[in-house]
């Protein structure tokens, strides 16, 4: 087990290289989590790419203020959510969506159908992606990202009771649709 080369290299890296290495580490560990969350909120792969880029740029710029606590994943998902909602709120986004809808309609596609087309894992995901966003995101945070009710409530800024209620309705809708199909 010859580790000397790698470890010695680490010791002599400068601050910038170190921050890059930390970011690379975060991207390899949590890149998919960030992308998947952005994708489920936006149902658009290109926008998920853009949001993921924004998230990791923000993380890189603010690494020195991050104390590296254990819930890095929760921290990243919260940044992702903020980025998505900032993006949605921006006039640029509205303009972009208008253009995109015009473009999409000419091709008889929607963001939702694109998402459904893009995914191929299973029918459950297809159904989840058609849920209203408030139900969709609690279900994804709980079922896919394995966050606790408490963590989800803190991230969304709602009570734990609200999270439980949304989770219940989300599950119910999915199961009813499944039974109906």
């Amino acid at each position: 087990m010859n580790t000397k080369t790698n470890l010695e290299a680490w010791r002599y890296t400068d601050a910038e290289t170190d921050a890059k290495a930390v970011l690379q580490d975060m991207m390899s560990t949590y890149g998919n989590d960030v992308w998947n969350y952005a994708f489920t909120l936006l149902r658009n792969a290109d926008l998920a790419d853009d949001i993921t880029q924004d998230v990791f740029l923000k993380v890189y710029r603010n690494l020195s203020t991050f104390r590296g606590e254990s819930s890095v994943k929760t921290w990243l998902l919260a940044i992702t959510r903020n980025c998505v909602y900032d993006y949605k709120r921006s006039a640029l986004f509205r303009h972009f969506i208008t253009d995109r809808f015009t473009h999409i309609r000419t091709e008889h596609r929607s963001a939702e159908s694109e998402a459904l087309e893009h995914i191929a894992v299973n029918d459950i995901w297809k159904q989840v992606l058609t849920l209203p966003v408030k139900y969709r995101e609690v279900l994804i945070l709980f079922g896919h990202h394995q966050l606790s009710i408490k963590e989800i409530a803190a991230m969304l800024g709602v009570s734990e009771g609200t999270v439980k209620s949304r989770l219940h309705h989300a599950r119910k809708r999915i199961l009813e649709r499944k039974e109906g199909s």
Partner: protein, 413 residues
């Protein structure tokens, strides 16, 4: 019943990603890295330009003052900070360090050998800037660690072994708030009867991190054969705090595998590994060869060629090369530096010295740091004490940590 099964299936299917191929592609990763590289190049250009402008402004101001006062100019020397180096030029003053910003929570372990075995004791210190100067802001016995948004404590407890062969000393973790809320003689504080007997097994910490700990175990019935394991903090919780808080279940000891945590696929042992301190960094060591309790040969260990990820250790990068640490403090055994690169703590055999860091003047390349020659603070160590935890707080967490550690640490170390 069927509905429960459906729910289970729903969660199982959601545990996979929404897309057939990973959405976070290598292409996207490269795009982000490229963007960061571009930003860094632009930032360096601006810093370089701003530096040149600053130097020019300083020269102009000096020239202007000199011209105004002429021969009557007899400047009295400006008072120097206690820890400042003699400045070679006026420009160096631009690089004077900013006030300290970060706080360091240190966990120390001390082993004491006695006739029947070894006993490890722990203490925790918070070194933080308070009212502009660096000091030990809180101290106490045991290990106090930040865990998620709370603080937890790790202590050593004693109980009889299940087979009645003797007693064992084992590690136990619990939320620091819980200890405070439990009254004496109730809940966790209720003492359990421990009978006399030989020490059969003991546990000690080699590392305490974000949510993982590394545990060294010694089996005194097998010629003091030692082994290691890594646990999550939660795995050190007692089985049922409401009933028998000091007892663990008789199930096998839980552990975090080397392959699971660090992705090392081909270890000799996936269980017998440790995280230990080695000259300014945390490293992973794993069993490398046979031996152990069933053999007369002790286990052999080798460093694992992997970098510990952010989820395991945070801010584990020295701001100065180890050679500089040794030059500064001959006989240095270990060192840590702050995330904001403003503080360096150097560990020797009998003390920890805290030095202020400042950017090295005159380096055109990547930013480098150097310690000021005189320490801001010196904390004495007891004989044989070693570092097992170094957690940094930055920004708004610094005052929070000072408050919390003062609340949870007993002040007696």
């Amino acid at each position: 019943m069927e509905r429960n099964n459906d729910e289970k299936k729903l969660l199982e299917k959601l545990s996979k990603g929404p897309t057939s191929s990973p959405g976070f592609s290598k292409k996207l990763e490269s795009r982000i890295e490229e963007k960061i590289g571009k930003e860094n190049r632009m930032r360096r250009s601006w810093i370089f330009l701003a530096g040149r402008v600053a130097v020019l402004v300083v020269i102009l101001i000096f020239s202007f003052n000199f011209k105004l006062v002429g021969d009557n100019w007899n400047p009295s020397p400006a008072p120097e900070p206690d820890n400042a180096e003699p400045a070679a030029t006026g420009v160096v003053e631009i690089a004077e360090p900013a006030p300290l910003r970060d706080a360091l929570l240190l966990g120390l372990r001390k082993d004491e050998r006695f006739e029947k075995g070894t006993s490890s004791t722990y203490r925790t210190l918070l070194v933080a800037p308070v009212a502009g100067s660096l000091e030990v802001a809180a101290r106490g016995s045991g290990i106090l660690l930040p865990y998620k948004q709370e603080f937890w404590k790790i202590e050593t407890a004693t109980r009889n072994t299940e087979d009645g062969r003797g007693i064992m000393r084992y590690l136990t973790a619990y939320p620091a708030e819980q200890k405070e809320s439990a009254g004496p003689g109730t809940g966790r504080n209720r003492p359990l009867p421990v009978h006399d007997g030989p020490l059969v097994r003991s546990e000690a910490l080699t590392f305490v991190g974000n949510k993982y700990v590394s545990v060294q175990t010694t089996d005194y019935t097998a010629q003091e054969a030692g082994s290691y394991r890594v646990n999550t903090v939660l795995q050190l919780r007692p089985a049922d705090p409401e009933q028998t808080p000091e007892l663990r279940p008789n199930s096998p000891t839980p552990f975090v595998s080397l392959s699971g945590l660090l992705g090392v696929k081909d270890p000799v042992s996936d269980v017998n590994w440790a995280i230990v301190r080695a000259k300014g960094k945390w490293i992973a060591m794993a069993q490398n060869g046979s031996g152990g309790p069933a053999s007369s040969i002790p286990y052999r260990y080798a460093e694992v060629p992997v970098r510990l990820s952010e989820t395991v250790v945070s801010h584990d990068k020295l701001a100065v090369p180890w050679e500089d640490v040794e030059r500064l403090q001959p006989g240095a055994k270990d060192a840590v530096s702050s995330p904001d690169r403003d503080l360096l703590a150097v560990v020797t055999d009998n003390e920890i010295r805290f030095y202020k860091l400042r950017p090295s003047p005159g380096s055109d390349g990547p930013e480098r740091f150097q310690p000021l020659p005189e320490p801001l603070l010196t904390v004495p160590l007891r004989k044989g004490e070693t570092l097992i935890m170094a957690q940094w707080a930055t920004g708004i967490y610094v005052p929070q940590w000072i408050d919390k550690t003062r609340k949870y640490l007993d002040g007696n170390d």
